[in-house]
């Protein structure tokens, strides 16, 4: 019997085994293709982007409006109380501010003397809104509403609220996927700000449930690193720009090998309530092969 069964008055029906076989081959080919080259990646991601992203943007803005109204109602009472407290605070802070201004002038002068770049402030940034989250429950990734057309590229760093959020891991013409540093497949090379000791910050599902990120391989021979120390991205990271705040050390302990230390740190970014992020459009300088 021929493998293609044709019944009277019916259209061609392909036996399901054949269809399964063909589609399996297609999938495998796609996997090999995207693994080896990005010839297919780009057009595919851009087509899908044009189809889906406009809707997601719309939903995002509607959802934002609703949650905004809800928050407004809930917050009015607490706002009144907060207002009086804040007024007192303003008075106190104004005084403090004048003092700090003086310090800043001094700092600026000193910086000029040392010809230091004000690195963090001089990065070029683009604001973007989060429009969708990873629908699987394994990784912490999300999609933002800016893409290639806004000058975004893969591996650009993403920050929010002064702390490191992650990096762009895929990009379409009008969207980009950001893999967060808390994601299970993310590792960041970091260092302690005070002592410049290097360490590896590894995201994990488990840690995020406890509100922390794990770090390891901290070589701290002098024992100068303590809980509460700032962790920033290191100079030697090949994907992340140096000096971006990752978080603060929460716990620290010696490893079994007595050479390195590991522990947990509290991220500077509130990953639970993230809606807008900044993408740094400067990229780490890489050595072309």
């Amino acid at each position: 019997m021929s493998p293609i069964v044709k019944r009277k008055g019916e259209r061609f029906t392909l036996p399901s085994k054949w269809l399964l076989f063909i589609l399996t081959i297609v999938c495998t080919a796609l996997m090999i293709f995207t693994f080896a080259t990005d010839v297919f990646d780009k057009p595919f991601r851009s087509i899908v982007g044009y189809a889906v992203v406009p809707f997601e943007k719309g939903i995002g803005s509607v959802g934002k409006w609703f949650s905004g109204r809800k928050d407004e109602l809930a917050q009015i009472r607490s706002l009144i109380k907060e207002n009086t407290e804040l007024k007192e605070q303003v008075a106190r802070l104004t005084e403090e501010n004048t003092l700090l201004q003086q310090d800043k002038y001094e700092l600026n002068k000193l910086r000029q003397l040392f010809e230091l770049d004000e690195q963090y402030e001089e990065y070029h940034k683009v604001g973007a809104r989060i429009i969708s989250r990873d629908s699987g429950n394994w990784y912490s990734a999300f999609v933002i509403d800016k893409g290639e057309k806004d000058g975004l590229k893969v591996d650009m760093n993403v920050i929010a609220g002064g702390g490191l959020v992650g990096r762009i891991s895929a990009v379409g013409p009008n969207w980009a996927r950001v893999t967060a540093i808390i994601s299970d497949n993310a590792n960041v090379s970091g260092m302690t700000l005070a002592t410049e000791d290097h360490l590896i910050v590894s995201g994990s599902l488990k840690g995020m449930d406890e509100g922390v990120i794990y770090f390891s391989k901290l070589l701290d021979s002098k024992g100068a690193v303590n809980a509460g120390d700032k962790i920033v991205t290191s100079d030697v990271s090949d994907k992340f720009l140096p000096g971006i705040l990752i978080g603060y050390i929460y716990t620290i302990a010696d490893d079994n090998n007595n050479l390195t230390k590991s522990g947990t740190l509290i991220p500077a970014v509130d990953f639970e309530h993230l809606s807008e992020v900044l993408v740094i459009t400067d990229q780490k300088q890489t050595i072309e092969e």
Binding site: T13, L14, S16, L19, L20, L23, T24, V26, C27, T28, A29, L30, M31, F33, T34, F35, F40, D41, F44, R45, V48, G49, A51, V52, F55, E56, I59, G60, G63, K64, S67, I131, S132, R133, D134, S135, G136, N137, W138, Y139, A141, V143, A170, W175, R177, D184, N185, S204, L205, K206, D209
Partner: protein, 169 residues
């Protein structure tokens, strides 16, 4: 033809619901896997071929945005659709137990495969943790979502069949 467009529309809407709407409105961290529900449901309602094609496109859509390698989820969903299609012959619209069981098992299998290929091979051996914190919750919310969404899929399918019969007469 109408059925094809309607299914494409439902697939699209399910994806939006799962990735954009649920995270915005639901105060939980684990979201139901609507794409699995849709793929499995069409599999046992319409047979292997439809299940496979739907699964393939579901997976492809997921891969485009969140998959590391394009084709991995497409392959997984493809087999979910195919295996559920095997139950086409024993499926009756009146029976809710079989669909619930099939979708739950599908989701469990999907999650386990994801764990093996995305976590276990990277040396993350803490299976009990991942099982209790990801796989099990996802299975439960998917079960709840099935109770809500499956009757809708069923109604749509019946309506389509009804319309088809009408046109043929």
């Amino acid at each position: 033809m109408l059925g094809f467009f309607l299914n494409a529309l439902v697939l699209f809407f399910s994806f939006l619901l799962q990735t954009a709407i649920f995270p915005a409105v639901l105060p939980i961290h684990v979201y139901p896997n609507l794409l699995i529900i849709f793929t499995a449901a069409l599999g046992f309602m319409k047979g292997e071929n439809v299940g496979m094609v739907v699964g393939f496109f579901c997976g492809l859509l997921y891969d485009a945005f969140f998959g590391g390698v394009i084709g991995f989820h497409a392959l997984l969903f493809l087999y979910v659709g195919f295996l559920n299609g095997k139950f086409y012959r024993v499926f009756y619209p009146e029976d809710l137990k079989l669909p619930l069981a099939l979708i739950t098992v599908s989701d469990l299998t999907y999650s386990l495969t994801c764990y093996v290929f995305l976590f276990l091979i990277w040396g993350k051996f803490d299976f009990p943790y991942y099982f209790l914190h990801v796989i099990l919750p996802e299975m439960l919310v998917t079960l709840i979502a099935t109770i809500i969404f499956y009757p809708l899929f069923l109604k749509m399918n019946e309506w389509l069949l009804h319309g088809k019969r009408k046109r043929e007469h």
